[in-house]
Symmetry: C2
Subunit: 313 residues, 2 copies
């Protein structure tokens, strides 16, 4: 028997947004409850080609499948006409160890679970009436975060702040084409929206905490390595509620960790994103809330397994 391999088109067809949102929500709750298993990743460097390879595995205790995800980033590929990132997800039975299938998703599932996690927690923590969104960054995640949040609540305006006007324009055109009213904005304007999402590879804060409005919610999703930083410690100091997708990870290399090391907040001042998704949060209209997402490997397992359940095996 040949091992089944599904390509990105097949995966895209199988994965409805409802399926992605439900899998990601359940996995975040499982993670908050300590029901996930995520071993330390395997890592290789290829300095001569400016490349690296990460292998991450994840399992939700009791689930039928676990996943092993191979992801490469080779940063000179553009010059060769190739995408910088490549990868695949291997879905394995947690009962028999048999490899069930390979999802040759080119990073699609990782992008979706990241977007879904950001949208879910932003929707859960923002004021019910919040309907303007400020987005920092103009890449794939900027587009996806806005689109997925729009699946959860109506957005009256998306304010896009990018490092170049050309890229901000291009993203707004794309969002408009998808039915979302979007326009380029200054950092100050974007930071003053009801909801703010940061999706950049920045190494210094992209917004000024003083520009964030009372009653706003801010979600940072770009800080996934120690040298990165999107949200200023002062924003955490102002926040009434801080959520992290993984306490230890966010403390180690998230924006939350930067705020703790800067003395802005205590290391135990956060609560788990999954806990907020399970039990809706009460928040006064004047409070600022912040979520710091660094990426949880167990989401891959949940999503890949759910998608595979809808593919013809």
């Amino acid at each position: 028997m040949t091992l089944p391999v599904f390509d990105a088109a097949a995966i895209e067809e199988a994965a409805t947004s409802r399926l992605v949102l439900d899998s990601v929500r359940d996995a975040l709750i499982a993670h908050a409850e300590g029901r996930t298993s995520v071993p330390p990743p395997l890592h290789m460097d290829f300095p001569e080609a400016d490349g690296d390879c990460h292998v991450k595995a994840g399992w939700i205790a009791g689930a039928a499948d676990f996943t092993v995800k191979i992801a490469t980033g080779f940063y000179r590929n553009a010059g060769l006409g190739l995408p910088s990132n490549h990868g695949l997800v291997c879905v394995v039975s947690a009962r028999t160890g048999q490899i069930r299938a390979l999802l040759d998703d080119r990073g699609l599932l990782t992008a979706w679970r990241t977007a879904a996690a950001g949208a879910l927690i932003t929707h859960a923590m923002a004021r019910p009436g919040a309907d303007t969104l400020g987005v920092f960054g103009t890449g794939e995640q900027a587009r996806l975060q806005a689109s997925w949040l729009a699946k959860l609540r109506p957005l009256s305006t998306v304010l896009v702040h990018g490092r170049t006007m050309r890229r901000a324009d291009a993203l707004c055109e794309e969002l408009n084409a998808g039915g979302l009213p979007a326009r380029p904005a200054s950092a100050q304007e974007a930071a003053a929206a009801d909801m703010v999402m940061t999706t950049t590879p920045a190494t210094a804060p992209v917004l000024d905490a003083a520009h964030v409005s009372e009653g706003a919610h801010v979600t940072g999703i770009g800080t996934d390595m120690p040298h990165k930083n999107e949200l200023p410690p002062e924003l955490f100091r102002r926040a009434r509620l801080i959520a992290t997708d993984d306490h230890a990870q966010c403390l180690d290399h998230g924006d939350f960790g930067h705020a703790v090391r800067a003395g802005a907040v205590a290391p135990d001042s956060d609560i788990a994103v999954g806990q907020l998704l399970k039990t809706p949060v009460e928040r006064p209209d004047s409070a600022i809330t912040v979520a710091d997402l660094t990426g949880v490997g167990a989401l891959d397992a949940a999503l890949a397994s759910a998608v595979l359940g809808r593919l013809p095996l």
Copy 2:
């Protein structure tokens, strides 16, 4: 484009024994010369199913490809009519990070590289005229080690020692059918052969050092975890030459490490298998020599890449 997947039959057809022996020899030499990159493996346990998953990666510096190998062992599978081990090898370009192909080899390449490494070093270290082989163990590696050594030098007799006569008989029948003269033997008889290979999962020495003849060579391949042990410290004390496939690994969890901890030999008394393969060893006819193999991940990369070079991509 769909990712190419090759099954065990295609791989078996592409991998000639010359190709396997050459790749493994080159990789062992590269490893001895510090030209390999083998990151710490990723590991997951599934205690409720008595299963585990290991992910190992390897690269030979400068080679076009690296590999990521996923291997599972679920030890209750026999009851379900499934093999205990499953796995595949993912071959990735070390220049662009693009996944080139998947080898759905069901562990075949790992078995071959292990057998080829054992045969190569046994042939390199044994006396030129040595032609009797004692084999401890009756599993797949017992069969493969004898068969691969017979590709390198003529064997007059293979003496098979197993825990049960039934299994030793079965292996001898198989070897005879392949043209190798083999018969079941006591541990003392097998240990007294010109060349001895141990291929068991034993946790205590399988042979008595006093039974090993002057001028014999012994290769142990089964000790790959700290709790395992096939060769007695006294054998290392008697040896004139000790070779290890990976000094640190063998010291940590090979038979060599047991001998060092028992005070039988000094921790720096070994030389690299790859060095002996590169520069033939001089040995008096009366010396005993020993090789301790714990398995080198970079062999996977070399072999998978060589095999892929002969498959229709």
